[in-house]
Structure formats: structure tokens, C-alpha cells
């Protein structure tokens, strides 16, 4: 216990006597002869008890009492009063002096007063201690309670989450492994915006960020404790979709799309956030692959509706021919039999052509190059259609430049290409009911380092819509008879050879196809 004591009295005699007796009682006594001095000493040593005379020159005891109480209200002050100074004594009590003793000072009385002062100090201290302790205790316990509640909530949340994940994983083959193998970065974040868990891919590519801040893995505007996906989710309490950029462990950056899902605790507050980030580059790559596959499929594959229509017509035509032949035989009608047989022949040849086109189309094969005489080749092509054209009373004229020389070509497919055009010319003439005489001119020649073929007919011609869509897959102006494949394939073949095909036409008058091929096969295919 603090045994310091300040004694203030203007009479030296009293100071001496009292300080001796007080020291004997075990106090450490400081003396002052006036108020100012007393304050100085008081400020320096902070004695818990002050014993002061009231009547002093300068600052009197009551003023001193006030000042002391103002500076350190816990100080207990005992006033020394003169004989008959009852008013002053009472006044000092009002100013919170703890007691007064009157002169001449009785030692016992003084002792009692001092003891009371001590007691008061003691009790005050104890009370303070208890109060502080109690407050501390309550704080502690409250904090513990909150923490425990939180934990329970989180625990339940995490349990719920992992139960849900287990359920989903259970539906998938491979169980929880699947989540580790998902081609996305999965991470779980808590309210303090710290990463709580990550999946394997995350660990592999971005590093094990468990315990780090949620925004650290991002770069750019999302690398911020208010703008990272988790922060936004906690703020809005709703799932977010964000385009962001993440940093790989090796420093590389890559764009991602982040979807977040809030995980709520029992009271409905968002406790955790799951971030699922899909690597855009990967997604785009896959998307492009899928698109390419789709394009490939739809160009390789046959649009059944379109092709099958042509096929159905051919089959009907075949039925027709057969019916005529059969019924012709039954009725012994030779003319009908002949008619039917012609129909069958025409239809079969159409079927053959379609099958060839389809086969060619379905199987992209490497071109088989050979070096051959252009004149011979053209002659070959002309010969294969000559009879058919002549049978229809169409004049067929061939103009081949004999000095054309050789060229490099896959003869087999180029034949198909030219035959498709010639047959179209034939059909165009047949379609045209206006002109009396029809003619197809097949020309071939050399133009510097190129070979050209020209096929002209004076058939029905083509309108602009037809000309523009001529080489499009499945476009046909021939109604039931067209497959929409012929010219598409022709163009493809020519382009594969590094050549070009063009057409001019006047509706009702004529059409001319011009094919130009390089002499040598192109170096780069």
C-alpha cells in the first residue's frame, strides 16, 4: 500500500512534530508550507493522502483541496481545522475532504482519520478491480460465445456444402475425384475474404492459395478487396458472374469467367462463397472445336431432307419406268414397253450420277495427279456424253486447240467436274421449250500457263438468283431432279486444283461456264 503522505501547514512547528509522529507510524512524509509548494510536491509524488491546514496565507486549505480533487479525485484529503472553525470544516467536507481534525491535534484522532482514509482508498481500489475484472470477464465470455456460434454456423454450412457436394459427386462416376478434375478453378472463400479451400486444378495451376486473401489471385480491377468476385457476392448476397484475369503460379495471366455461389448458414446469411472460374481460352478453344466439327459434319454429312427428296423422285421415276414396262408386257403394248425402258434407263443413269457424287462428296480423297494431254482428256469427257446429248437432238460441238499440250490433273475427278457441267447444259437445253434447235459447245485451249475449258449452251439460262447461288451446297434449280451437289462438287474439284470457275448467263438465251486450271499442280495445296 502506498504510504506516501503530504503534510501542508504554514507553521513549522506543527510540520516538524506531525511528520515525526507520522513517520513513526510508517508513513513517508512530504511537507509543504503553503498551497503552491504543496501542489508541486503533490504533482511530483502523487501521495494518496494529504493532510492540510485550512488557514494558510496565499492559497488556503480549501482551495488546495479543490485543486487536488480536480487533478486527482482519488486522493483523500484530511483537513486540519482551527478551534471553532466548524463552518470551514463543514465546507471542506462539502468539497469532499474525507475528514477533519482540529487543533491541537490528538494523535488518536489523527490515526483514526488516517485509517478511515486508507480504508476508503482500499475499498475503492478493490471495487474498481472487481468491476474491471467483471467487465473483462463478460467481454471474454461474450466473445467466446459469438465465436462458438459462428463456428457452429460455419460448421453446419461446411457440412451442408460438403454433403451437397458428396451427393452430386456421388451421382458422377469417380466421386469427389471429379471435382478435382473439373476443368475449372474451384475455391471457397470465407467472410474475411480468405481462401479456405481450393480444388486440385487450382492448386496445380494457380498455386495453393489457402489462407491467402481472396483477391490476390486476380489481376486488374478485380484484385481489390471490394471488387473481387467473393467480395461482390458477400456484399450483394447473390451469385455473381464476372469476367476477370487470373495469375498462374508461373506468372502467366489468363482470362476467366468466374461464377460465384453463396453458401448460407442457418440464419440465411452468406457464410461462404464458392468461386468457379472457367478458363476462357480453354472454353473458346473447345467452342471453336465444336463449331468446326459442326461445320464439318454439316458439310460432310448429307442433309437428308434435301438429298432424300431427290432420291425419292428418282425412286418414283424408277417405279414409273417399271410400271410401264410391266403393264406394257401385260397389254402387249410394245410402244409402252419401250417408253418404260427408256424411263428406266434415264432414271438409272441419274441414280448412278447421284451415287457417284455422293460417294465423292462423302469421302474426301487425296488427288491423284498425272500429267496428260489436254486434248485427249477433253476428247474423253466429250465422248462420255456425246451419245446422250445427240439422243436428245442437241447439236454437240467440240473446239479443242490441238496445240494445248499437257497439263497436270487428277483426271478421274476432273472428268466428274466437267461432266456435271455438261449434264447441266443438257438439262438446260431440255428445260428450254422455246428454241427449236439446241446446241452445246465444248471448248478447250491454252492461255499462257493455263488450260481453260468452256461449256456453252443455248438452253434456258439462269436468272441472277440462280447464278449467285449456283455453287452453293444443296442449291438446285432443277426441282425434283437436282441434288444440289453437282456444281458444288465441281467447284470444289476445280479449287482443289488451284483453278477457278466462272459463269455468265442470260435468262432464256444461253449460259457459259469457264474453267481455268494451272498447267502445273499448285505447290502448296
Amino acid at each position: 500500500m502506498d504510504k506516501k503522505l503530504l503534510l501542508v501547514d504554514d507553521e513549522e512547528g506543527i510540520r516538524k512534530v506531525l511528520s515525526i509522529s507520522l513517520s513513526d507510524s510508517g508513513y513517508e512524509v512530504f511537507t509543504a508550507e503553503n498551497g503552491e509548494q504543496a501542489l508541486k510536491i503533490f504533482r511530483e509524488h502523487s501521495p494518496p493522502i494529504v493532510l492540510t491546514d485550512i488557514k494558510m496565507p496565499g492559497m488556503d486549505g480549501i482551495e488546495l483541496l479543490q485543486k487536488i480533487k480536480a487533478e486527482n479525485p482519488d486522493t483523500e484529503v484530511i483537513m486540519i481545522t482551527g478551534h471553532g472553525d466548524m463552518d470551514l470544516a463543514i465546507k471542506s467536507l462539502k468539497y469532499r475532504a474525507i475528514d477533519f481534525v482540529s487543533k491541537p491535534i490528538n494523535d488518536d484522532v489523527l490515526e483514526i482519520a488516517l485509517n478511515r482514509a486508507h480504508e476508503k482508498i482500499l475499498m475503492r481500489n478493490k471495487l474498481r478491480e472487481y468491476t474491471e475484472n467483471l467487465e473483462e470477464l463478460v467481454r471474454e465470455k461474450s466473445a467466446q460465445l459469438i465465436a462458438m456460434e459462428r463456428q457452429v454456423a460455419v460448421g453446419q454450412t461446411v457440412e451442408g456444402l460438403s454433403a451437397a457436394m458428396k451427393n452430386i459427386a456421388g451421382d458422377l462416376e469417380g466421386g469427389l475425384n471429379y471435382f478435382n478434375e473439373m476443368p475449372c478453378f474451384v475455391s471457397i472463400h470465407n467472410r474475411d475474404l480468405k481462401v479456405v479451400a481450393v480444388n486440385q486444378l487450382y492448386r496445380d495451376r494457380l498455386g495453393d492459395k489457402t489462407g491467402d486473401n481472396s483477391w490476390e489471385v486476380y489481376s486488374g480491377e478485380n484484385a481489390d478487396d471490394a471488387l473481387c468476385p467473393s467480395a461482390k457476392t458477400f456484399k450483394t448476397q447473390k451469385g455473381q458472374r464476372t469476367k476477370a484475369t487470373v495469375k498462374y503460379a508461373n506468372g502467366r495471366q489468363t482470362p476467366v469467367i468466374v461464377h460465384t455461389a453463396p453458401i448460407r448458414n442457418q440464419t440465411g446469411e452468406v457464410e461462404l462463397v464458392v468461386e468457379i472460374a472457367a478458363d476462357i481460352a480453354e472454353v473458346n478453344r473447345l467452342r471453336t472445336q465444336v463449331r468446326e466439327l459442326q461445320d464439318h459434319l454439316s458439310s460432310l454429312g448429307l442433309k437428308i431432307g434435301s438429298i432424300s427428296h431427290g432420291i425419292k423422285s428418282l425412286l418414283t421415276g424408277l417405279d414409273g419406268g417399271l410400271y410401264l414396262v410391266d403393264s406394257g408386257f401385260a397389254k402387249q403394248d410394245q410402244a409402252r414397253v419401250r417408253e418404260g425402258w427408256e424411263a428406266v434407263k434415264i432414271t438409272v443413269s441419274r441414280i448412278r450420277k447421284m451415287v457417284q457424287n455422293v460417294l465423292f462428296f462423302a469421302k474426301e480423297r487425296e488427288l491423284k495427279w498425272e500429267r496428260i494431254s489436254a486434248v485427249d482428256f477433253a476428247g474423253d469427257v466429250a465422248a462420255s456424253l456425246e451419245t446422250k446429248i445427240n439422243d436428245q437432238d442437241i447439236e454437240f460441238v467440240c473446239n479443242f486447240d490441238p496445240s494445248m499440250g499437257d497439263f497436270e490433273v487428277d483426271a478421274g475427278v476432273m472428268r466428274i467436274a466437267l461432266i456435271n457441267i455438261l449434264e447441266n447444259a443438257l438439262d438446260a437445253c431440255l428445260e428450254d421449250g422455246v428454241k427449236k434447235a439446241h446446241k452445246i459447245i465444248f471448248g478447250a485451249g491454252r492461255d499462257q500457263d493455263r488450260i481453260f475449258f468452256e461449256i456453252t449452251d443455248n438452253g434456258i439460262g439462269m436468272d441472277r438468283e440462280t447464278r449467285e447461288n449456283l455453287f452453293t451446297l444443296f442449291f438446285s434449280s432443277k426441282g425434283n431432279k437436282g441434288t444440289g451437289l453437282g456444281l458444288f462438287i465441281t467447284k470444289k474439284i476445280i479449287e482443289q486444283h488451284g483453278g477457278k470457275i466462272s459463269v455468265v448467263s442470260r435468262p432464256g438465251v444461253e449460259s457459259r461456264f469457264r474453267i481455268v486450271l494451272p498447267n502445273r499442280f499448285p505447290a502448296v495445296m
Binding site: G310, K312, G317, L318, D319, G321, S327, A343, K481
Partner: protein, 116 residues
């Protein structure tokens, strides 16, 4: 007097086929190779039934049908659609839809049921 059937199809082989089938079953026939021609022939010949193909160059089958329905005299002529493509959404009141390739006996049966 035999009932007359108008065949509208751009494929001459199919026209020949249908003509043979129908005339073998006692019907008179006439034909047209396009829907434009068809409109003319319909007015001239006034057939009792029309066999219509849907996909033809120039005007499409359903267009012909709409034109037909607009003409007061001709709009009640029964129409059978014979086609390789699904036309039932394009032509609503056709008597029947026959898909190519078809069974000629069935077709004749439908015609008999319609016009006798």
C-alpha cells in the same frame, strides 16, 4: 364420261408414269410441267381431280394451290398432293398426301374414293 385427272409434275418420267396408271384404270388424263402451265390447263380442261407435286421450278406447288383456291369455279376441285417433301403444312385442304415413292394401287384407291 370418264373422269379427268390433271397431273402437275415437272419430271416427265413421273408424268408418264401417272398417266399410264390412271388411264389403265379408266381415267382420262392431262398434264402440266409447272404450276404456271397448270393454271392454264386447269381452266381449259376443267379436270375432276388434280395430282399436284410440291417442289417444282418456277412457282412452288403451294402457290398454285392458293391461286386455285381463289378461282370461284375451280376452288372445289379436289387435290391430291404427291410429293417427296412434307407438304401438309403448306396445303391444308388437300384430299390426301401421298409420299414419293408411292404405291400406285393405293393412289388409285384414293382417287376412286374421291371421284369414283
Amino acid at each position: 364420261m370418264p373422269k379427268k385427272i390433271l397431273i402437275i409434275d415437272d419430271d416427265p418420267v413421273i408424268v408418264k408414269y401417272l398417266k399410264a396408271v390412271f388411264s389403265d384404270n379408266g381415267y382420262a388424263t392431262c398434264s402440266a410441267g409447272s404450276s404456271m402451265e397448270g393454271l392454264e390447263v386447269v381452266k381449259e380442261e376443267k379436270p375432276d381431280l388434280i395430282c399436284l407435286d410440291l417442289q417444282m421450278p418456277g412457282e412452288w406447288g403451294p402457290r398454285f394451290y392458293r391461286r386455285l383456291r381463289k378461282d370461284k369455279e375451280l376452288k372445289d376441285t379436289p387435290v391430291i398432293v404427291v410429293s417427296g417433301i412434307d407438304g401438309d403444312h403448306a396445303i391444308k385442304d388437300a384430299v390426301a398426301f401421298v409420299k414419293k415413292p408411292f404405291d400406285s394401287e393405293k393412289l388409285v384407291g384414293i382417287v376412286k374414293n374421291t371421284i369414283g
